[in-house]
């Protein structure tokens, strides 16, 4: 008992300490600590969360897996087939630049040096050494790069691991969505929800890319699931798993830290006093895991990171209004390239209205849930142990009349979650979903549309006795209609940087595969660093020409490759792509990137270098 009180007191102390250490340390100290220790902090957070999660399981690991497999193997197969299909349809590639390559570089730094840095110019030499010319703290939260670095641990560093991580993430995203829907409506509807989500081209496009939006979506769904488990059974064990998850989700995307505001009140409202004394020592550590979240915000919340001149041009109510309107246009699919599924949007709207009407006239009785769902455990397993007598005893059955308040709490929490996400995204200048580079921000909202669509279809089937197989057919048809949008890369192929990067990469891969032999000079050198090119910027080349030249006189490299954007009318490189006059370039390749610009790849051998004859 005394230990429990000590536990709580220490937790309160660490809350204050977290605020203090989070806010009051000098900037340089914060930066150094974040860069050097975020790997270990996140790692321990993950480990402790897993330990907490294991405590919530009532069965042993083997029994849990066996029971899960017995009840949900069809869902697992379907999720697997869907991600494989999506991967075949939409070839994994880097699309949103330089976000995706920056994330990959951070994973490389975490893997190689256990530091959280974004290398923007690097020279690799000998076998395994590198000279980091320029590096900076990346503004993006570090959990996704850390996860990719775990995969690097098993396979060695490979750029493709970022795609594999996203594909695995998509698989679990589909499964978690299935479970959330299954919990309320049953397995059939759970499977429909997976198919519906997979029919969104934007979902397919971004889980076959190198970004972290799908990863963020997965963590959001896990949060909902943990919240559901806690609300169903408000114990200290479940609360601990939820609390330790909050720092993790805060490290998936910038806005996700708002989950704390949505979840903490629920815990305070539902947890009884006696349960507070049952927390373990991990509660003490939980506030400390938020310190890096605070540091990252303080270090990177500046106008440069927000790509704005001042706060007013970064966030405003005007942006909110305009972006909300654009979001509407996005979801109704005005342009196929947006990657939305308009019919789902329309059905979801009807679904919201129908559900609201039902709620208002209080037709939402327990009997309705009885028809759709038999009594289940956390995964919606309908093992025989969960029998009718459990409902009759009126135990923690979430769907009984006595638990309407808990249900409302869950809905309010989720609503707040989405409101916060919507406000932050739409109030930001870059929250225009119709922009190609910002449409991925809509991914977090897709489960909402899927959910309300399922509500509509479910009500349709139960009220009007429509066969469920028609719904399944409809969903499959949607998939076939919309997947080609992802396959054609419609949402991305007109991005200039994407075209430039892809053209350069493909040329180098085919004609200059020996990366160790040359230094690549590019306007955005950071794009090539994670692909293990010796990559420097034009600025560096011009400022430190002698240093660069010495690399060739020392025979560390044999020649220079320059990738420039050239203006078509003047035939001159654009500003920022110019080389020193001493360099004599020989053109190897040219290709059009934009209407008025083309990409030129040239080589240059230095005088004292005895280059190979090819």
């Amino acid at each position: 008992m005394i230990l429990s009180y000590i536990n709580i007191i220490l937790t309160i102390i660490t809350v204050f300490l977290s605020f203090f250490w989070g806010l009051k340390l000098p900037e340089e100290t914060m930066r150094k600590l974040y860069i050097d220790y975020i790997y270990y902090i996140l790692l321990f957070n993950v480990i402790f969360w897993i330990f907490s999660f294991i405590r919530t399981r009532k069965k042993s690991f083997i029994e849990d897996i066996a029971s899960y497999w017995k009840n949900h193997k069809l869902a697992v197969f379907i999720a697997l087939i869907l991600v494989v299909l999506g991967t075949i349809v939409s070839k994994p590639d880097f699309r949103i630049l330089a976000d995706e390559t920056n994330l990959l570089t951070v994973s490389q730094a975490l893997y190689e040096n256990r530091e959280c840095k974004n290398y923007t110019s690097v020279l690799y030499y000998y076998f395994g050494f590198k000279n980091v010319i320029r590096a900076e703290l990346d503004k993006r939260p570090a959990l996704f790069p850390l996860t990719v670095s775990f995969l690097h641990s098993f396979t060695g560093y490979r750029p493709e691991n970022i795609f594999i991580t996203n594909i695995i993430t998509a698989f679990f995203t589909l499964l978690f969505l299935y479970h959330l829907i299954n919990y309320k409506f049953g397995k059939f509807w759970g499977i429909c929800s997976m198919l519906l989500l997979s029919s969104y081209p934007i979902f397919v496009l971004y889980y076959t890319s190198g970004g972290f939006e799908v990863f963020n979506l997965l963590f959001s769904l896990i949060l909902f699931w943990l919240l559901l488990m806690f609300i169903k059974e408000p114990t200290a064990i479940n609360a601990e798993a939820l609390l330790l998850f909050l720092p993790l989700i805060s490290q998936t995307r910038y806005e996700s830290v708002t989950a704390v505001i949505c979840v903490l009140p629920v815990i305070f409202l539902l947890l009884t006093k006696s349960e507070y004394l049952k927390f373990s020592y991990k509660l003490i550590l939980t506030p400390l895991f938020f310190i890096p979240v605070i540091w990252l915000r303080l270090l990177t919340f500046n106008m440069k990171a927000l790509e704005a001149e001042d706060k007013g041009s970064a966030f405003s109510f005007n942006f909110f209004k305009a972006n909300l309107e654009k979001a509407g246009m996005f979801f109704i699919g005005k342009d196929l390239a947006f990657g939305a599924v308009p019919i789902v949007t329309y059905i979801a709207i009807v679904g919201i209205i129908w559900a609201t009407i039902d709620l208002m006239i209080k037709k939402n009785t327990a009997s309705e849930y009885e028809n759709s769902l038999k009594y289940s455990d956390d995964y919606g397993n309908t093992d025989s142990e969960y029998d009718v007598s459990r409902k009759e005893k009126n135990t923690n059955d979430f769907h009984g009349n006595k638990d309407i308040m808990k249900q409302i709490l869950f809905v309010v929490s989720l609503t707040l979650f989405y409101i916060f996400h919507a406000v932050i995204r739409f109030a930001f200048w870059g929250g225009d979903f119709t922009m190609r580079t910002s449409s991925r921000l809509a991914i977090i909202f897709l489960p909402l549309f899927v959910y309300f669509t399922i509500i509509f279809c479910h009500k349709l089937c139960s009220k009007f006795k429509i066969r469920e197989s028609y719904i399944l057919l409809g969903v499959l048809t949607l998939m076939f209609v919309y997947l080609p949008v992802a396959g054609q890369n419609l949402g991305v192929r007109d991005l200039t940087l994407y075209r430039e990067f892809r053209a350069t990469r493909e040329y180098l891969k085919e004609y200059l595969p020996n990366k160790n032999e040359y230094i690549l000079v590019a306007d955005r050198s950071n794009l090539y660093v994670p692909l293990k090119y010796n990559s420097i910027s034009f600025d560096y080349l011009n400022d430190r020409f002698n240093t660069v030249s010495n690399n060739f006189y020392n025979r560390t490299y044999s020649y220079l490759i320059v990738a420039q954007l050239i203006k078509k009318d003047t035939n001159m490189p654009i500003p920022g792509c110019r080389v020193p006059k001493e360099l004599k370039l020989k053109t190897l390749y040219e290709t059009q990137i934009m209407v008025d610009q083309y990409l030129r790849i040239s080589e240059c051998y230095f005088d004292l270098n005895k280059g190979m004859n090819k």
């Binding site: 790692l43 480990i47 395994g128 050494f129 098993f154 396979t155 060695g156 560093y157 020996n514």
Partner: protein, 597 residues
């Protein structure tokens, strides 16, 4: 009684033949017969092994019992087997197989090549390949390294055809078996769960992964030591002549796995004499009598290498001594407890291992202890523990008494591999005691073992332990260049400073500035100049007879002076192809040499 008399007689004969005879024939005798000795040893050991698992107590084969035994073995241990294979496969991706410690690894491959091609064991330092598989050997020498690993490798060549890369396949197999054996040892006294944890912990070591994907014999030595420990356990458990023979016949194998491992004889022989009941002596077969003779290669190698030049010291007395023991032991502690990436060690496991060892020793030697291994009673358990501890103690003394055994030197750190199972076993002992006494959750231990893999494998993947080595970089750069631009090895002869590195990879390689031959050279009367002139004549002859079309000269030169290693004689035309900096202040220059007249 008869068996003891015959054994003693053969033993004395072996001592005479091993240490007192054949002074002038020693090198030839060793190189020409070691293949056959090893074959006989392996053959007998396999017979004894199958006898133990196939035959019942009455000495009859019961096939059904055998199949049942095999089936229940796999049913019980399938998870560990699959996990071992899976971890080693993942390890190949995490840490690409490569030659790392040079020239040890290429010398071992060269030994295996000669064992495969000629059934003789020597290193080919330079040779020229003629057409259709013929070779002209220029310079050969005896390898100071024991030959069982190259022998096993030659067996792989027999099945797959000669390829230098076969050594990675062999080490992969030993890696899988080593992981399984550490699991097996731990599960005997702690159960399968802790065995799996131990397996994960061993595989998490970057140094294990690095050298499981290299071409050295340190992993093989670790494997042999684990087999020995399992055989000791089985012998103590069974107390039968058949088990004694399996154990006895493993000694020539482990004795020829690494230099120090022959000391295992001083553990096994007294153990057998002490523990084997008198009634079992009559059941010992002729293989027991032959055992001393199977140790002859070890004795001969010991005599051959009883020369300072083999050990890179000026005098043997200076290279070996108890004065080194203290220094190197301290360095070993620094090595195991340091978080230095280049060492490839997991310090937390070392700390847990030390605590576990203290607890273990206190436990086992308490009067009222109830510690028991598997089916062994307390006395047997203590006997096993004594053998176990003595094994590591003798290895420590032998290793640390040598001046070069400083584990903090990254070239030497691979020798620490043999101690990893000891650390893991002690660490698991500690964790399991914490679980029993203080309720430490097993799931936490299992998860932590998995996370160790995540955290530490990148150190192996980044080659942290090896990439600072000049010879490694030089060899890799040379190989990479030749593979990319001159893939057709038949067309040319490589003129390099250390041709022994390239010969096992199938290159014709020769040097024009050999060091003076050392004691292991078979022709000590040739001088450096004579070697150079002879070699020049040979390559000119090859060129004129169109056996090769040109020469590739690879020189490691100083970046500042750019002075070539030697001057080419008249009539040789050099075209410098390129130069690469492969190390600070060093360039590797590739030139194409043709003969003008």
């Amino acid at each position: 009684m008869k068996n003891i008399v015959i054994f003693s007689f053969v033993g004395i004969l072996a001592i005479i033949l091993g240490f007192l005879q054949f002074d002038y024939l020693l090198i030839d005798l060793y190189t020409k017969t070691v293949f056959y000795f090893h074959s006989i040893t392996l053959f007998f050991w396999i017979i004894c092994f199958f006898k133990v698992i196939l035959f019942n107590n009455e000495g009859k084969i019961e096939k059904e019992v055998f199949y049942t035994k095999i089936k229940s073995f796999f049913e019980y241990h399938w998870f560990a087997l699959i996990l071992s294979v899976l971890l080693m496969i993942l390890g190949i991706f995490a840490c690409k197989p490569d030659f790392r410690i040079l020239a040890d690894e290429t010398n071992l491959v060269s030994d295996s090549q000669t064992l495969y091609e000629k059934r003789e064991c020597y290193i080919v330092y330079s040779s020229l390949n003629r057409n259709l598989g013929e070779k002209r050997l220029i310079r050969i020498g005896i390898d100071k390294r024991p030959a069982f690993f190259p022998y096993f490798l030659s067996l792989v060549h027999t099945v797959l055809g000669y390829k230098a890369e076969n050594v990675f396949i062999l080490n992969f197999i030993f890696g899988v078996l080593s992981l399984f054996l550490i699991y097996y040892l731990i599960q005997i006294y702690k159960g399968r769960f802790w065995g799996i944890c131990g397996l994960c912990c061993l595989s998490a070591y970057p140094i294990f992964l690095l050298y499981a994907n290299s071409a050295g014999f340190d992993l093989f030595n670790m494997f042999c030591s684990l087999v020995l420990l399992v055989l000791i356990y089985k012998f103590i458990e069974q107390r039968k002549a058949s088990f004694a023979e399996v154990l006895l016949l493993w000694l020539p194998i482990i004795g020829q796995s690494r230099y120090e491992s022959i000391l295992s004889v001083f553990i096994v022989l007294p153990l057998i004499f002490y523990w084997l009941p008198k009634s079992e002596y009559s059941k010992l077969t002729y293989k027991t009598w032959l055992f001393p003779l199977l140790l002859l290669p070890s004795a001969w190698l010991f005599r051959i290498t009883n020369d300072p030049s083999f050990w890179q010291v000026d005098k043997l007395e200076e290279g070996f001594g108890l004065n080194w023991l203290c220094n190197n032991t301290i360095q070993a502690f620094v090595f195991f407890l340091s978080g230095e990436e280049a060492y490839g060690i997991i310090p937390i496991l070392s700390i847990l291992g030390i605590i576990g060892f203290i607890i273990f020793v206190l436990d086992i030697f308490r009067k009222e202890t109830n510690l028991s291994f598997g089916c062994l009673d307390t006395k047997s358990t203590r006997l096993f523990v004594v053998a176990f501890l003595l094994f590591y103690f003798l290895h420590s003394i032998a290793k640390f008494s040598y001046s070069w055994t400083d584990f903090t030197d990254v070239i030497i750190s691979r020798q620490s591999l043999i101690f990893l199972p000891f650390i893991v076993i002690m660490a698991i002992h500690f964790l399991s005691e914490c679980n029993k006494k203080y309720g430490l959750k097993k799931s936490y231990c299992a998860l932590s073992a998995i996370f160790l893999v995540f955290i530490y494998w990148p150190d192996a993947g980044n080659n942290c332990g090896v990439k600072t080595n000049e010879l490694y970089n030089e060899f890799k750069e040379g190989r990479k260049y030749l593979q990319a631009y001159f893939p057709n090895k038949k067309d040319y002869i490589c003129i390099v400073e250390r041709p022994g590195l390239f010969v096992p990879l199938g290159y014709s390689a020769i040097s024009l500035n050999s060091d003076l031959p050392n004691a292991n050279n078979k022709n000590p009367d040739k001088t450096k100049e004579e070697y150079k002139n002879n070699n020049l004549k040979l390559i000119v002859d090859f060129y004129k007879r169109k056996i090769c079309s040109y020469f590739i000269l690879i020189q490691n030169i100083d970046k500042k002076t750019k002075e070539p290693l030697f001057a080419l004689p008249d009539g040789f035309k050099e075209e410098v192809l390129c130069e690469y900096q492969f190390f600070p202040e060093r360039l590797l220059r590739f030139s194409k040499i043709t003969i003008t007249d």
